[in-house]
Symmetry: C2
Subunit: 447 residues, 2 copies
């Protein structure tokens, strides 16, 4: 059974051992943990203590631990290592992870470290790809075999050459021109007759991607077809790399966080307890953008100050008209954004989505409008006020539906992430239209 407190207890124990100078024992303790847990302990340790433990650990253990951290964390942990030590550690890491770490270093430092690595030919090509593409998350393929091999020969070959290979999910079968012609899952290999050739048991309809495909698309393909790894190939079907399921789970989590933070108008790399200066920067930027659009809404209200001075009750209902429009619009835009992201909504379904959301907006608008009009009537005893607010409500809910569909579609088509910027434009529309409808009608009918 898993022990949820394992990290906390280990951290305490490591600190205690280090305090008494028993550094080797502290390192020994880390080595016995699962690398994922050891990574958390190491990351939580104070930098000077971390440096002490790190120098008691062998490169392979450090490599295993680093692979469990994300890029920023890796860089922080290896700070105390010299370039030659770092090169030694990187040689023991999976090539994709080593490339990720190198990508985070300053260019000169990365070049120096790479120079000292033995496995640089495996890692260097990976540095060329943007980090959020298939190329950026792939690792260098090994276990490539020829089609005429028998199952028994393939197993013997694996036993001889790939003892320390972690990501062993599929064998890749290449032709004499090094082009990918088929894959054999470990499952198929184990279940096949030992005398069959790979050619007989391999899957020829290989689902693959080119290196420039977005990582989110890669994740979706892997999930859709229930694969454990996806080959990355060039135009001539040469095998460039493989993306494995564990990388993809990180991608799914990362992309979901990005979408969630986008809706709340923060950048996707925001994190709790990030340095204050950075937090102010990421959040204040969006607050200021929002402020700009909020002044637009204010300007609309300002046009009607004369009306409000005479019919101050309008001010009481202002938050309701704009607020409900904003809420309805965010419901619409969120469902559109998520459905586009999950591939449940296609770009050519714009009209269908628009018709559907407008109808929904009309129905919800009438329902909400009736309630608000009723409350206005009972509370303020003014039937005309009820009419004004009810009609403004319906109008604004229709605008919310329109903007909630059009804005994400437009941003998507422009190649921008709709999750990030839709909210700003949307509330601008619902605030401006809401106040305009409500105060305009009020000026006309209540003065």
């Amino acid at each position: 059974m898993v022990e949820p407190m394992v990290v906390d207890r280990a951290l305490e124990r490591v600190r205690a051992l280090l305090e008494r100078g028993r550094n080797r024992e502290a390192a020994q303790l880390l080595r016995r943990l699962h690398p994922a847990d050891a990574a958390e302990v190491l990351y939580e340790l104070e930098p000077d203590r971390r440096a002490v433990v790190l120098h008691e650990l062998d490169w392979e253990t450090i490599a295993d631990i680093l692979e469990e951290l994300d890029e920023d964390e890796m860089v922080e942990v290896v700070e105390s290592l010299t370039t030659s030590e770092l090169a030694g550690v990187l040689d023991e890491m999976e090539p994709d992870m080593a490339a990720d770490l190198l990508g985070e270093l300053e260019e000169a430092e990365a070049a120096e470290v790479l120079q000292q690595m033995e496995e640089r030919e495996e890692v260097a090509p990976l540095l060329a790809y943007p980090e959020d593409t298939a190329g950026g998350i792939m690792t260098t393929p090994r276990h490539m075999l020829r089609r005429h091999m028998t199952v028994a020969q393939a197993m013997a070959f694996l036993r001889e050459h790939y003892q320390d290979e972690h990501d062993l999910y599929y064998l890749y079968v290449l032709d004499r021109n090094q082009r990918l012609v088929g894959i054999v899952s470990l499952r198929a290999l184990v279940l096949a007759d030992p005398d069959q050739t790979l050619d007989e048991i391999m899957e020829r309809d290989v689902i693959s991607v080119s290196p420039d495909v977005d990582q989110e698309e890669v994740a979706r393909l892997l999930a859709r077809y229930n694969l454990l790894a996806l080959p990355v190939v060039d135009e001539e079907n040469h095998l460039l790399g493989i993306v494995t399921v564990d990388d993809v789970m990180d991608v799914l989590e990362e992309e979901a966080t990005e979408d969630i933070y986008g809706i709340a108008q923060m950048s996707g790399d925001a994190a709790i307890f990030s340095p204050l200066r950075e937090a102010v920067r990421t959040r204040l930027f969006w607050l200021m953008v929002n402020l700009g659009t909020a002044f637009l809404a204010s300007a609309v209200v300002s046009l009607f100050e004369g009306t409000i001075a005479r019919v101050a009750v309008l001010a009481t209902f202002m938050p309701i008209v704009a607020g409900q429009g904003g809420n309805a619009g965010i419901q619409t835009s969120t469902i559109v954004i998520r459905s586009l992201a999950l591939g449940e909504l296609a770009l050519d379904e714009l009209w269908k989505a628009l018709r559907y959301e407008l109808l929904l907006g009309l129905l919800n608008g009438i329902a909400v409008g009736l309630v608000v009009a009723g409350v206005a009537l009972v509370w303020k005893g003014n039937p005309m006020l009820g009419l004004v607010i009810g009609v403004a409500m319906v109008g604004n809910m229709l605008m919310a539906a329109l903007a909630g569909v059009l804005i994400p579609f437009a941003l998507h088509r422009m190649g921008r992430d709709p999750a990030l910027a839709s909210g700003i434009f949307l509330t601008t529309v619902t605030d401006v239209c809401g106040f305009l409808f409500f105060l305009g009608l009020g000026t006309w009918l209540l003065l």
Copy 2:
């Protein structure tokens, strides 16, 4: 290379074939597609056409296709099957998927179908677990072996008994009391010497969960430890089931969608183009809840109608004070919610989070307050108005930080999903406090 248009083209082709009465060819086409693609085609087909194709397909093909759909979609697709046909299809499905489908049927119908199934002993036990727990997403384990077997024997055994087993990632080693004592990955099996026993190569530190663990926790464990499957065991370590990586990717996507929709105040099962009546219900409910809280804000404004009638410019700045407070609060609550969900923030870090967010709120509040006060001064030429709005702004940003941390923590501690309900409470706080601070100060200083 993957062909993104494959579903659209296949759908068109199937429709054309059915129109000309070539039903068998339409079914043949579906059978040649990847089940994930065939599932999409079948789901997109009109119900009467779907029924026609379905009756040309064998049960195993239908089972493979159904496994690619989610529960609601499965139920829709099998509508035209009789209970005995459905039982035949369910017998061919993975037990966890069969249980999911049965769980969606009406109780009497599910009982009748189960009665007619041959594999009911494998499926029936799975029905007992809530669907969002480890028990609810696990499948019945097979490939259970004894520790004294050699690698060669184990492989022969697998070849004989598990030819049609899809989820073959690990072998589970049981003792004579059927308790789980170790696991052997296929990778370890392939790389081991054929004469070694399972006992020699098995992993004894098995990470496992009990069936009542939340599915999100299961997903996190699998992702954290880079596992392909996780055994589910009872208190005595009897193997009850296994949760596989493909199920977990669906869980990650589902939970992210739920969180995203929660933030936009919709239920997690909302979907684009769901039946209109259902969409009205899911969205209108939250709009009405919001409306209730919006009236609270209105009531506060209403208290100050006398002030507003005399200083109508206050109405102009109302949207800004409340809006910025709301935005800042949603930034805070979203980062707290997501960090709690990802395990990056622990419940005992409440004070740390509170101190951090209050400090951030103060800094951002001062920055935003200064800008707004400056604009008010320049635009309306009223320094006192600038002071009122600036101070109200800072006060409301502090309230936003306070509410943005406390509300998710409180909901989390009460065992509720903070993503779902935080927004409502939060905007109530920022609206009410924003208007109270701003109009209260205005009444005091501007009248």
